[in-house]
Every structure is written in structure tokens, then in C-alpha cells.
């Protein structure tokens, strides 16, 4: 719809509403109307990062807040989903299946700026972009995701820069390139994956990836091997379910090694790869390193990584940074509440808490004192069978944090194809809910 057509349609709808006459004016007089799309803007919100957190915030600010100026700054031209991206690595889905447009948000009136924010001026309330332009704001949302801590693993930064080693932990070109390396690997080759110590983005993600790569090898390169090098002492999510999948489906093909922290990456002159561990030196054909993580670069340069110099502490009622009130931070970059996972689902839920709070704040109202967030995370263990972990987190006003509700949540009884279908349904719904599709 063009802007003019939308305006006409809107005016028509507004007249129809107004023709309800006294009823509607009574509503206005009561002073309880939550919002209206008409009238002047009540505030400018700039959102940095169009992943699950930032895009959901844009959607819900427009849907719930109406006349708020919302600008979303995102580096990429399209949204590429990390969830389901492991299926692309396994050859069960294509990039197009996990790529979605930002047009739904634009149709709601969100101003989309493709670019990169390089600096936040919290005093002057504006952000600066790489192209030199500036965006002023009344409230700022950063949904920066994670960036990597490469210094503790010798040779890793250079190996990633050269593209010989891939992380595949931000969906997009990395996903495609890793898929191509797997396809190019000869049968009989070794694929090694390194998992960092917790906390990292998407706790079950590495184990799902191991299953998906193994499912590809099982069908197409049965003499090959998946080597899972986990810096942690055990599988970090859905442990029994993943261990059962490793045994039932990928026995002899997938080897899981706990307490195996990657110390060094060596790329030989002709591209041959070695992964050095504390007591071992492994020759591998494809090396996928999921590096240790921290809150995204823009959160760091804005001085917001005030928890262990890695994560952003937030006020959970508003999602504002405890280092810089007025700047709301969403998703993986936050210092997680107890038992709260770093997931796209959770970032989407953070965004709704922030959107509700920002609208209340711009309207001079108290914010919701009893927010709730929840998480459901599906992992594919085969091309069709899926396991979940779910949790519900209620705000605790005494300890000022979200707490998982005792007795709630849990994991699948067993992997199933029914949950496989629910997982794909979940993806369609969360993508639509995030991007206003």
C-alpha cells in the first residue's frame, strides 16, 4: 500500500470509528484510552539491530503505541533466522527458507535504515551511523546480539578472517559458507565443532548442529566423522535427549568429547587445519568454531557491558541498561536472569516488555510491575524429529529479577515428529510475530 493510500484508508477507518460518536468520545473522556494512531508523535524511538529483539520491538511499539516515531537501523537487507539455520547446514532447508523481509515493519510505518550505528551519544540522545548521519531519539533500544572474544584462542581471529574457519553463529553468509565447506568435504573427512564455555547464544544450538551435520553425513558421506569438542563438562541443554540422539542415530559417526576446550587453531600453508586442545592435536577437514561471546560491539562502545565486562545489566521492568537508564537493551547481550536462556524466542519476549514499558513511559504512566516472559526452544535431532525445552519466568519484585516458576517448564519426554511439525509452525509464527509478516 502506498503512503497516500494508507492514509486515505486510515482516514476512512477513523471516520467509521468516529461515527460510533458518543461512545468513542466517552472513551476519550474517560481518559483511559491506551493509545491512538492519530495526532502528533509522542516520541521518537531508535532501535539498533533488526534481529528477534529489535524487530519485535519495532512491531509492538507500532502495534501497541500507535503514534510513536520508530526507526530501525539494521546492517542487513533482510532478516536471516538463526533458529532453523542448522537445518540448512544439514541440507534439509535452504537459505530462502530462513530469510524474511522487513517490509511488514515498513508497512506499519517503521522507518527502516540499512546501515550501521557506530556511536551512541547518550547525553545528546542521538546515535551516529557509519555514513556520518545522525538519528536523534527520545528512547533508544539496542538489540546488538553477541560479538566474539577471540583473544583466548591463538590463531582463531586470523582463521576466521580468512574464511578458512567459520563460526556460523550468526545466520547469513556464514551459514551458506559452512554448508559449502561441508558439501566440498570428501567422504571420510572429519568435521570438528568447538563449543565455548557457557554462557553463549542458544544453549542447545551446538548439539542440534552436531546432529544436523551428522544426519547429512549419514546419508551422503557415511565414512565421515563429526567431532564435538565441548569446553563444558557435559551437554548444556536437553542433555539426556541429545545423548540418546547421538547414540540412537549417529553411533560411530558422531563423537562427543566433554572438557575439550579449543586452545589454538593452526591453518597450514596449503589450507590444512589443526585444532589444538590441551592434550591433543587434531587434524580436521572442516573446523567450525563457536567462539566465546559477549554483548555486541555497540553495547561495548556505549559503555554498557557492566556485568563481568561481558554482558549488559538491565532493569527487567523496562529492559533499561543499569549503566545508562534511557537505553533499553534486549536479547543475548543482556546479563541473563537465573535460568533464562539466550535465545531468539527470549529476545522477542524481552522486546515486548520493553515496548510496553516505553509506551507507558512516553505516556507518563507507570510501567507494568508484573511482567512475564517465557521460552520455548525446539531442536532437530534428525531431519524430522525434534526435542524441546520450555520455561516460564515471572518477575520477582523483591529480588528485582525474573525467576523461573518452580514446577513449570521442562523438556520433551522423547524426540518426536509431532514436535518437528510444531517446531516449523513455531518458526513461521515467531518470524511473523517478530517481523509483522
Amino acid at each position: 500500500m502506498t503512503g497516500r493510500a494508507m492514509k486515505q484508508n486510515f482516514e476512512l477507518s477513523r471516520r467509521r470509528l468516529l461515527s460510533a460518536g458518543t461512545a468513542l468520545s466517552a472513551l476519550t473522556l474517560a481518559g483511559c484510552a491506551t493509545s491512538s494512531s492519530t495526532g502528533p508523535s509522542i516520541g521518537r524511538v531508535v532501535i539498533v539491530g533488526g534481529g528477534f529483539g529489535g524487530a519485535t520491538a519495532a512491531h509492538y511499539l507500532k502495534m501497541w503505541g500507535g503514534n510513536i516515531d520508530v526507526t530501525l537501523v539494521e546492517r542487513s537487507a533482510a532478516f536471516v533466522s538463526c533458529p532453523i539455520s542448522n537445518l540448512v547446514l544439514g541440507g534439509h532447508k535452504q537459505m530462502a527458507d530462513i530469510t524474511r523481509s522487513y517490509r511488514g515493519l515498513q508497512a506499519l510505518g517503521v522507518k527502516l535504515v540499512q546501515g550501521e550505528v557506530t556511536a551512541v551519544d547518550a547525553g545528546a540522545k542521538k546515535v551516529r551511523l557509519a555514513n556520518g548521519s545522525e538519528l536523534p531519539y527520545d528512547r533508544l533500544i539496542l538489540s546488538p546480539g553477541v560479538d566474539f572474544m577471540l583473544d583466548s584462542t591463538a590463531g582463531l581471529a586470523a582463521a576466521l578472517d580468512s574464511g578458512r574457519v567459520l563460526h556460523g553463529w550468526k545466520a547469513g553468509p556464514q551459514t551458506m559458507a559452512l554448508r559449502q565447506q561441508l558439501q566440498a568435504m570428501p567422504d571420510g573427512g572429519v568435521f570438528a565443532m568447538s563449543i565455548p564455555k557457557v554462557p553463549y547464544r542458544c544453549p542447545p544450538g551446538p548439539y542440534e548442529r552436531a546432529c544436523m551435520v551428522a544426519s547429512y553425513f549419514k546419508q551422503h558421506k557415511p565414512r565421515s566423522k563429526v567431532l564435538v569438542l565441548d569446553a563444558n563438562p557435559e551437554v548444556q541443554s536437553k542433555k539426556a535427549l541429545f545423548e540418546k540422539a547421538f547414540k540412537d542415530h549417529y553411533s560411530g559417526l558422531l563423537e562427543y568429547r566433554p572438557n575439550n576446550e579449543l586452545k589454538e587453531v593452526v591453518v597450514g600453508t596449503s589450507g590444512q587445519l589443526a585444532a589444538k586442545l590441551e592434550f591433543d592435536d587434531l587434524k580436521v577437514d572442516v573446523l567450525n568454531v563457536i567462539p566465546p561471546q559477549r554483548g555486541g560491539d555497540i553495547a561495548r562502545s556505549a559503555g554498557l557491558l557492566n556485568m563481568n565486562s561481558r554482558w549488559v545489566g538491565v532493569n527487567w521492568l523496562t529492559m533499561e541498561s543499569t549503566a545508562a537508564p534511557g537505553i533499553h537493551v534486549l536479547g543475548d547481550a543482556t546479563f541473563s536472569a537465573p535460568a533464562m536462556p539466550k535465545s531468539g524466542h527470549m529476545a522477542n519476549q524481552h522486546a515486548k516488555v520493553a515496548a510496553a514499558a516505553i509506551i507507558d513511559m512516553l505516556q507518563g504512566k507507570p510501567v507494568n510491575a508484573t511482567p512475564v516472559v517465557m521460552n520455548t526452544c525446539y531442536s532437530f535431532v534428525t531431519a524430522s524429529d525434534v526435542v524441546h525445552v520450555a520455561s516460564v519466568h515471572q518477575y520477582d519484585s523483591v529480588d528485582k529479577t525474573f525467576k523461573a516458576v518452580p514446577g513449570s517448564g521442562g523438556v520433551s519426554a522423547a524426540a518426536s515428529a509431532v514436535e518437528g511439525r510444531y517446531a516449523l509452525s513455531w518458526a513461521d509464527n515467531i518470524w511473523a510475530d517478530t517481523l509483522a509478516l
Partner: protein, 133 residues
Amino acid sequence: MPRFPRALRAAALAAPAASAALGALGALGAFTTRAAAAAATALTLAAPCALAQDANLGRNLAATCANCHGTGGQSRGEVKSLAGLPAESIVAAFNAYKAGTLPATVMHQIAKGYSDEQVKLIAGYLAAQQPKK
């Protein structure tokens, strides 16, 4: 269902529809004058702002369901749409999940995370959403 007086109960169900329709461009086209009048009248009868606060609480709580059941309860996948279902049936399903009498893959675990009062608010909000064709 909440044991509210009838007018209050109607308002609790209708108020979110009014605010959602006012807030969302997309919903305006489908929103009928009659529905607007009904919603606004109900809100006027109920009057106090405390109720509007409650309306946002239902809206906020129901938004936690959207990742699986779709925005406003309008699912586009195999997982069930909840928009426009009778509030009583949503509450009954929640209670059955909590009690373990309704088989589920995940909802029996999720339902236990919400209080009875929260379930009523969620059900009221979702019941007031217009199901799409």
C-alpha cells in the same frame, strides 16, 4: 471465568479489542462501527482507569503466547489459533494442561508457569481478538 459483575466482565473482554483496533492500522479496516460502539460503551460503563491497566496486563500476558500461537492469537502454522475462542474454553484448556488431564507435548509445562488470575486475563484478551478468515 472471572466472577465479575456482567458489565465489568464484558468490559474486560471488550476493552482490549478497542485499544488493539485503535493501535493497529491493519485492524482498522476490518473493525466495524458496531464493534467499536460496543467496546467503547463497555469501557465507558466500566470507566475506571484501573481497568484499562488490567486490559494492558491481559495484552502483555497474551503477547507471551504469540511466538507459538501467532500475534494476537492468529496462528499461521499447525499450532492452534486462539483468537476469538471463548474465554471459558481457553481457561478450561489451561486448567486441564495444569492438571495433566489434557495430553500435550509442551503446554502442560508452560501452563504451570501462569497463575489462575493471569490465565483469566490471557483468555479474556484472546477471546476478544477477531479471528481472521
